[in-house]
Symmetry: C3
Subunit: 314 residues, 3 copies
């Protein structure tokens, strides 16, 4: 494996999840695999879980870690071919990616959707430019349209907690005051299509994800109906794909204890950070059925597995 | 020992100081104690000494260090129970503290007083929330009302330099153009009450520290009088506790060579950073009796001792 | 060797370049030289190559690395002796440099020219203050007037690529929309005067570098003429020294394929970051004669050599 850009880079979900669960039992088993190897973590956006869990994962493998915030610490980058760079950008990604490749052995990059121009975001200009020009493997730490480390984490967590072969998994939209990307939802949908699951997405009209991604997936505009008999409720806000970046704060979609009662005693999942009492009530998050903290813990093993695969295939 | 929140967490000042002085002689004696352990340093405010000395201390013990600036790099945190998070905060400390606890073995946190609301500050919302929700030990790298790593450093420094069993130690207020917290002064007062010292606080009327902290301590509103026969002059500005956050730039309280001459050839101490010629004259800082640089050096050994105690008790 | 402030600290360019080329062949040959030694990287300005390559170099030698951004993470520093610090600065470099010296074994500092006051910049207030007060070696990671790690890199790169004993090397000014320091150009000029090279500087009238630096060097105001038979074209923008900080965007000085054709199939060099199609055309940068990426790679070995020299002489 060279890059981990999307979950398409996973050959077998089942094998990967099993291997990650093994890693979790003994995180230091491969402590010398990364000796004298350096990972560069490049951030264009804030991060807590991703930053810390990836750093932890790399350290568990014995790697050196260099963290770099491009906002503030570095130069602003240009991505357009042929640009006459007489404005705000100081360095072209062509140089930046090639240069950084010489100081590191693996790159991991976070660059959120800007939610201004759908085509720009869905072309994945930042990540794809780094992948194009870097001469070392590139890992997606959440790009404009996907968050495959989160999706791998989610697969691990569901498999750890499921009580039947084909659980009912519901991805529910929930309200949020700010425009958020579709990245987490997109990757989760892709992942669910590759797992044994009775999968349903529920969201308000107008909040459909990109149809290429949801093709063949059940969509139910009635949240109450969708929740029935669910084994896992996975909650996430996203802004509109159709009316790109449009926000809805429709409070009737908030996740409540009442709604959770409609499920089959479902586990509650969320990638975090989560806005309490806006996206979901305290009563849900603070109940034992919420597995958001364990889910976050699995971020380390998802990242560690990806790094291990990359180091082993070099 | 679980947390190091205040100097109340020190069982014996004498033993701790002696142990720190031993560490200083051979800082790498416990080089493998922290192998495969990670400390997360979380900063909500600027730092130079604390950041570098704690990082050095952890490295001396063989720990991995993750530094995270919450301002800019992370999400803004909510601390209120039951808050409807539809405004500026993106993540509740409940999640943040639990999540970070899974990636680290020890947390160290800096969160200054905001000096807006005395009750909020003296309730230590940030540090106490992290302590409440974290599942790993938490170290105070200066909270709203205390700076116990500094106070331990100060105890080490005084014991290293004292020439009599019970030296006269004076904590003197000095002017400063900005509103500063009472944290350093508070912890120093607490420490002096547990050491063999003839301890006096001197400050202008209206700049009394919290009475629960200074109970039983001599306060002299006459700086000149207080300085007489002093063996240590410990200088620090703080804003008013009574008229919470009020600043005084009363220049008559600046520390001068003339004033130092009233002392028993006293050592001059300050936690740094110090504004030269505002808080204290160049003539005092640049004289050999100033031990502020050695004092800063002891920050490493104070932090290292606290980390060692925590690692040993796990 | 104590400090690496300018290329004057290099005793023999030839020996250093040869040694760096050896290091490049086996970067981990001295992997334990820096065991238990810590380098502090202090940044007052953005950095990509310098930050990452110096971090990599230190890691190759087994050192611990502490990175600190003074903008944002730390206190703003005062450099003037006798200053009454009642304004924006919180800490004097006297304290900062002495204190940091106690936590680290080597310091490396980046502090660009401010381009407001030529005397201030050419007095090298920041770097020279750190050198004055630090008690450990200080490395210049680009100061107001020089970038000696870059110049050492450039020497390595030219020696690796030259095909004759005394190549013709041209330093050409090129347009840029913002005021840039003279640091890179200055150090390159100093380096060329110590190497076997037929060296020419070309720039518009009014863009002369400091005469103390260019004394004895050929200056040709005709770029086309200067490029004739050149073996290396080294391109860099700088703002005016005479009319201090003045910018010129004179597009006739942009480096084009046409101009490169006048040379002896010259290699194209630039320290990066470079503004494409403003400083130089895509056609030049994307041709095989451009060695800017290899040049950036040599930053690691220049930094590693300097660190090795410092560690060996302690």
């Amino acid at each position: 494996m060279k890059n981990y850009f999307s979950i398409k880079d996973i050959d077998s979900i089942e094998n990967w999840v099993n291997e990650a669960i093994e890693l979790k039992k003994n995180p230091l088993a491969n402590k010398t695999l990364g000796t004298d190897k350096t990972i560069g973590l490049l951030f264009f956006n804030p991060s807590l879980r991703t930053r810390l869990s990836t750093q932890k994962a790399a350290t568990n493998l014995g790697m050196n870690v260099i963290v770099m915030n491009f906002t503030g610490e570095g130069w602003s980058l240009e991505y357009d071919d042929g640009a006459v760079m007489d404005q705000g950008t100081s360095e072209h990604v062509k140089e930046a990616a090639q240069v950084v490749s010489q100081y590191c052995d693996v790159l991991a990059i976070r660059a959120f959707a800007k939610l201004k121009n759908r085509e720009d975001d869905y072309n994945e200009k930042v990540l794809q430019s780094f992948i194009k020009y870097a001469t070392i493997p590139v890992i997606n730490m959440e790009s404009a349209t996907g968050h495959p480390l989160q999706a791998l984490t989610d697969a691990i967590t569901i498999i750890e907690h499921k009580k039947k072969n084909k659980p009912k998994v519901v991805l529910s939209w929930a309200p949020h005051p700010k425009a958020l990307p579709q990245a987490v939802a997109n990757s989760f949908v892709e992942m669910m299509q590759r797992m044994e699951a009775d999968f349903v997405i529920t969201h308000p009209v107008g909040y459909e994800l990109a149809s290429e991604i949801t093709k063949g997936v059940s969509i139910d505009y009635n949240q109450k109906n969708a929740f029935k008999d669910a084994d896992f409720i996975y909650v996430k806000n996203w802004s509109s794909y159709e009316d790109y970046g449009k926000v809805s704060e429709d409070k009737s979609w908030k996740i409540t204890e009442e709604k959770m009662k409609q499920t089959n005693n479902a586990k509650f999942m969320h990638c975090l950070p989560v806005r309490r009492n806006v996206v979901v009530d305290d009563a849900v998050l603070d109940k034992e059925n919420s597995i958001v903290i364990e889910q976050a813990n699995n971020r380390t093993y998802a990242a560690q597995l990806v790094l291990k695969k990359i180091l082993e295939s070099k």
